[in-house]
Every structure is written in structure tokens, then in C-alpha cells.
């Protein structure tokens, strides 16, 4: 079985909220120089799903990443976690794409890879939080898509996917090839092993630029977008918390109950 996993390099979403600063002139995030980027945690769940499938049914995992200025020590993490191959779509023209263009370039690259049974993506990315690229790839390649998966199984050539719903989950049966987007309910991504890290060091990724994919520069950048970001802001919360004191935590608790009653909140 051939599995393709789309992974992404993003600013560390666990960085303190105050470190997410905006350059108001360009409406772009100011990337802090002291906080290294990471593989998007959502795409790590997709990779974990791929590894679970390979553990059970064997096969090959190809991780594919799209972007510009991809740091090798970051972007190779899927290899150290156990992916077999890494394809980097790296071109300065690939920077800051919208969902439309991102899905389009990935779909072209996946078509070039050719051998695939399952394409996995994170349920969304930790930067734009859009949750569209997986569905976009499916629509472009005319494949079925199942989003926000918590479990994936294969039986008799059919794929069984548990999809998270508003009050639980539903099991959907589909055929191969298919696109599945993965949620955190799939389980914690495994840590890279020493062997994996050594193998990743030696492994050279395949690198494709726009010309390798036959995409014209006019189709890339702003000209290839279907949506535009016009404003990026940092939300401001009014930090006006009344701290309820007490000699002991118990006394504070009692005072809080009284204060809430006074405010008619209880």
C-alpha cells in the first residue's frame, strides 16, 4: 500500500501567545528568530495515522511538504518518525499560498508521484486553520474524501474510517484510492527513534520546484489565489480579572462563592 502524507512547516503553535506578532505593513506574521519552526502538529497526527496503517498492512509512506525556506532539520522529522520517502516542493513562488493554490500544487505533485492508495492530511493546519487542502486535493483528483478521522482500518479492499461528528463519530466505508484528513483522536504521534534519526540524516529528500511540476509562474503567487488576506490582527483581551483572596485556599473558595452570589451569577 502506498500512503502519501502532506506535512507542513509552521511557526511553533505552542509558542507563547505574546510571540505571535504581526507586521502591520505587510499583514504577515513576524517569525521569531529564537523560536524554531516545527512540523505542524496536525500533520504529525496524519503521519501517525500513516505509520499505524503501515504497521498493520505494510506499505510505503511518502511525506510531501510544500513551502519555501524549509529547514532541513525540521522538515525531515517525518523521516525520523518512520516515513520512507520525503518530497519537498520548494520554491520561493510557493510562499504564503491560499488553500486553492496549495491544494492545486500538491495535487500536481501527487499525480507526478503517481503511486498512491491513501492520501493523508491534517484536519487543518496550525497557521491558517482553514481545513481545506485535503478536500481540495480530493476534488482535483476526483477522489472521495473523509475529513476529521479518528480511526482508519482496511478490510477486504475497503477502507473504514471513523469520522468525528458534533456528538460522537460515524463510520464511513469507502474505496481506494481515497483522501482522509486526520484529527488528534487518532492518538499521540510517536517519537522519532535513534535509528529513524540516523536514517533521516542520511536520506536526501527529492526536491521539486515549480518548473519540475510544469507550473507557470503566472499561475503562482497572488495571481493563482482565489482568496486574499487583507488584514491580520492580534486580538486584545481586557485583562481585568478580580482575584479573590483568602488566608487559605478554602477561605478564598468560600469568598468566591459569596462574591459570585453577590453578583447574582449563581
Amino acid at each position: 500500500m502506498n500512503i502519501i502524507v502532506c506535512t507542513k512547516q509552521v511557526m511553533d503553535p505552542e509558542a507563547p501567545p505574546a510571540r505571535f506578532m504581526v507586521d502591520t505593513a505587510t499583514n504577515k506574521l513576524i517569525l521569531p528568530t529564537d523560536i524554531p519552526p516545527v512540523i505542524d502538529p496536525y500533520s504529525e497526527y496524519a503521519l501517525e495515522a500513516a505509520l499505524k496503517l503501515r504497521d498493520k498492512y505494510a506499505g510505503t509512506i511518502t511525506a510531501i511538504s510544500l513551502g519555501n525556506n524549509l529547514l532541513r532539520e525540521v522538515i525531515k522529522k517525518p523521516l525520523s518518525m518512520g516515513a520512507d520517502e520525503l518530497v519537498l516542493l520548494e520554491d520561493e513562488l510557493f510562499a504564503d499560498g491560499d488553500s486553492w493554490l496549495t491544494a492545486k500544487i500538491l495535487a500536481i505533485a501527487i499525480t507526478k508521484i503517481d503511486a498512491y492508495d491513501i492520501i493523508l492530511c491534517g484536519r487543518q493546519s496550525a497557521d491558517r486553520d482553514a481545513g481545506q487542502v485535503g478536500s481540495g486535493i480530493a476534488e482535483i483528483l476526483k477522489l472521495p474524501v473523509i475529513t476529521v478521522a479518528r480511526k482508519i482500518d482496511i478490510a477486504g479492499g475497503k477502507v473504514l474510517v471513523e469520522r468525528v461528528t458534533d456528538d460522537g463519530y460515524e463510520t464511513i466505508e469507502t474505496t481506494l484510492p481515497t483522501v482522509i484528513t486526520v484529527s488528534n483522536e487518532i492518538g499521540e504521534p510517536r517519537y522519532p527513534t535513534i535509528r529513524g534519526i540516523m536514517a533521516a540524516k542520511k536520506k536526501e529528500p527529492t526536491i521539486w520546484k515549480s518548473t519540475d511540476l510544469g507550473i507557470e509562474p503566472s499561475e503562482l503567487g497572488v495571481g493563482g489565489f482565489r482568496s486574499h488576506l487583507v488584514k491580520l490582527l492580534k486580538p486584545v483581551y481586557e485583562g481585568k480579572c478580580e482575584i479573590i483572596e483568602g488566608e487559605t485556599p478554602e477561605e478564598a473558595a468560600s469568598n468566591l462563592a459569596g462574591r459570585l452570589r453577590q453578583e447574582k451569577l449563581l
Partner: protein
């Protein structure tokens, strides 16, 4: 963009009744339609949903596209994308609003790519630039750390709207509108996917997303037993129980209890955040609460930036006394 006119809402229902999210969307869509000076339309998909089509007219909908067929009984990405493509090509609305629900977050991107337009998901604020007819779509990005406003280049401009971002509209039975029946072709049916079973994990009692009182626990709760204590407080106040992601991932509480960007969006009157540091991910899902009360050991915890009242201390010492005191106050 000029051949596209009006605003459309995709209608969702829960147990045969108009879903809250749909009433919220209709309120928002009516304002946008008025700004444009154009019609408000709705799409109703399902099995035996004619009454629903009639119901939305009371919410000021001028035209309803009704796709009523047994193959639409359950949501499927394939059949809904197929039928919405037909409806949108017929009605050609400038704007399509869908709820950011299990259905909306699945359908909107597929539909946008099918039609060659864009979708902006999880919007919390929408307005129209009247000159250009463009929809300004604002949504949290970077895990809720930043807010971004997007515009679309193509029509229909599809936006999914977060639950509770807008107040629900009240019906007015004197309103009139037209229902257009959509012809369902056999190829609309899902060909490649099939829903084989559904599992509901929601607990008896108040639904988390509708509760007026929510008690939430974070990683610091430490165990399933810890959540039992919070449940006691929640039931005392007639509220629901929620959590951040780590307790769900650790199995201390069911996954459906997760509050945040990728979980439930809540906007209760009273939200008590216990042992929750307040990641942007979580705050994004609870900042609509009218009163946030935070209990945390860490003075620097981000949750105190959004809370109205707080105690800096160990929840294990605070909550038993607090619960007892509340019990007393409620029986007085």
C-alpha cells in the same frame, strides 16, 4: 461577480427542528442581504423536510431551494456536494453561508473546489464591502493567536460561520416566500462512500454547546476521578462539563467534551475554567462566555487575561469548599 446576486444559507436541522446555528446564520444573512439590497435564499436538503422549508420562510427567506429525497436522509460529502452544485448554479448567490459544524466544515471546502471558488472557514465576523460586493470574512488563525480578514476573488463567496458568533433570529409568521423543488438525479447519490454506523457520545442532560453553565477542566485535573468532582459541581449548578484537549486525549473524559478551536465552541453565561492555563486554542472556543471564572495555581496563566473572577491556588483545595459553599447558598 455581477451576475451573482443575493445571500444563501444552508439549512441544518436537529431532530427535525431548525438548528440553532441556522437561526444564527439567517440573522446574519438577512443583514448582509439588506446591505447588498438583494434577496435572501436558503437551501434545504434532507428527507421529508418540506416543513423545514416552510419554517425558514418565517425567518425572512425570500426563496427556498428544497431538495427532499430519501438519498439525502443522512449527510454525505458526495451527495451534498453534488446537490449543492446544482442549486448554486441555479440560484447563483453572491454569498453562501454554512455553519461551522460537522457538516459545514466537511462540505464547504469540497463545494468551493468543485465550483472553482473559495471558502473561508470558521468565520466569526462577516460584513459586506458595498462598493465591491465583496464579503469581508474574519476568522481566528494561528490557533486563535491572531485574527485574519479574507476576501474572495470568485462567487459564490462561501463562508462557514462559527456557532454562537451571531444571535439567533426570531421567526415572524407573517413573512412570505417561494419554495422551489430541486429535481434529484440518481447520480446525486453517494457512489463511493457509505455511512455504516453512527455513535453518539453525548451524555445525558444539558448539551455542552447549549449549556448556560459550563464547568471545564484542564490537564491539571489529572485523572478521571478528578473530573468526577467537577461533575458534582456541574450537576449542582445544572450545567455541563467540558475540558481542554489533554484530558480528552488521556481518556479522563469523552472526546465530545473538548472545548476549543477543534472542539466545541461555547458561549455560556458562566464558565468556570479549572486548572486550565488558557491556550489560545482553548480560549478561542470559550471567549464568548459572559463570565469566566478561573482557578489556577499559576499567577501568570493566560486564562486570567480573559477571566472576570479568579483564584490563584490549587483546585484540589478550592473546589471541595467551593462546592459545599454553593450547596449551602442554593439551599438557603
Amino acid at each position: 461577480m455581477t451576475e451573482y446576486k443575493g445571500v444563501m444559507v444552508l439549512v441544518e436541522s436537529t431532530e427535525g427542528k431548525l438548528a440553532n446555528i441556522t437561526r444564527e446564520l439567517l440573522g446574519c444573512a438577512r443583514k448582509l442581504a439588506n446591505q447588498l439590497g438583494e434577496e435572501l435564499s436558503a437551501a434545504v436538503l434532507g428527507n421529508q423536510v418540506a416543513a423545514l422549508a416552510q419554517e425558514v420562510i418565517a425567518y425572512g427567506v425570500d426563496k427556498v431551494s428544497l431538495a427532499d429525497n430519501p438519498i439525502l436522509e443522512h449527510y454525505s460529502n458526495e451527495s451534498y456536494t453534488n446537490i449543492m452544485e446544482v442549486i448554486l448554479n441555479q440560484v447563483m448567490p453572491k454569498v453562501l453561508l454554512i455553519g461551522q459544524t460537522a457538516i459545514g466544515r466537511d462540505l464547504a471546502p469540497s463545494l468551493a473546489f468543485r465550483l472553482g471558488t473559495s471558502a473561508i472557514t470558521d468565520c466569526i465576523e462577516l460584513s459586506i464591502n458595498v462598493e465591491s460586493g465583496q464579503l469581508l470574512q474574519t476568522k481566528p488563525v494561528y490557533g486563535g493567536n491572531l485574527m485574519a480578514t479574507f476576501v474572495s476573488e470568485c462567487c459564490p463567496q462561501i463562508a462557514t460561520v462559527r456557532p454562537k458568533a451571531y444571535s439567533p433570529m426570531e421567526p415572524n409568521n407573517s413573512k412570505q416566500g417561494k419554495i422551489i423543488n430541486i429535481d434529484i438525479k440518481p447520480e446525486t447519490a453517494p457512489a463511493r462512500t457509505k455511512v455504516v454506523s453512527k455513535v453518539s457520545q453525548s451524555k445525558e442532560g444539558v448539551r455542552l454547546e447549549d449549556a448556560a453553565v459550563v464547568i471545564g477542566g484542564g490537564r491539571g485535573i489529572g485523572s478521571a476521578e478528578g473530573f468526577k468532582q467537577l461533575e458534582e459541581l456541574a450537576s449542582l449548578l445544572g450545567g455541563a462539563i467540558g475540558a481542554t484537549r489533554p484530558p480528552c486525549d488521556n481518556g479522563w473524559i469523552q472526546d465530545a467534551a473538548q472545548i476549543g478551536l477543534t472542539g466545541k465552541i461555547i458561549a455560556p453565561d458562566f464558565y468556570m475554567a479549572i486548572a486550565i492555563s488558557g491556550s489560545s486554542q482553548h480560549i478561542s472556543g470559550c471567549s464568548g462566555a459572559k463570565n469566566i471564572i478561573a482557578i489556577n495555581k499559576d499567577t501568570e496563566a493566560n486564562i486570567f487575561n480573559v477571566a472576570r473572577f479568579g483564584i490563584i491556588g490549587d483546585w484540589k483545595k478550592v473546589i471541595p469548599t467551593f462546592t459545599e459553599k454553593i450547596r449551602q447558598l442554593l439551599t438557603e
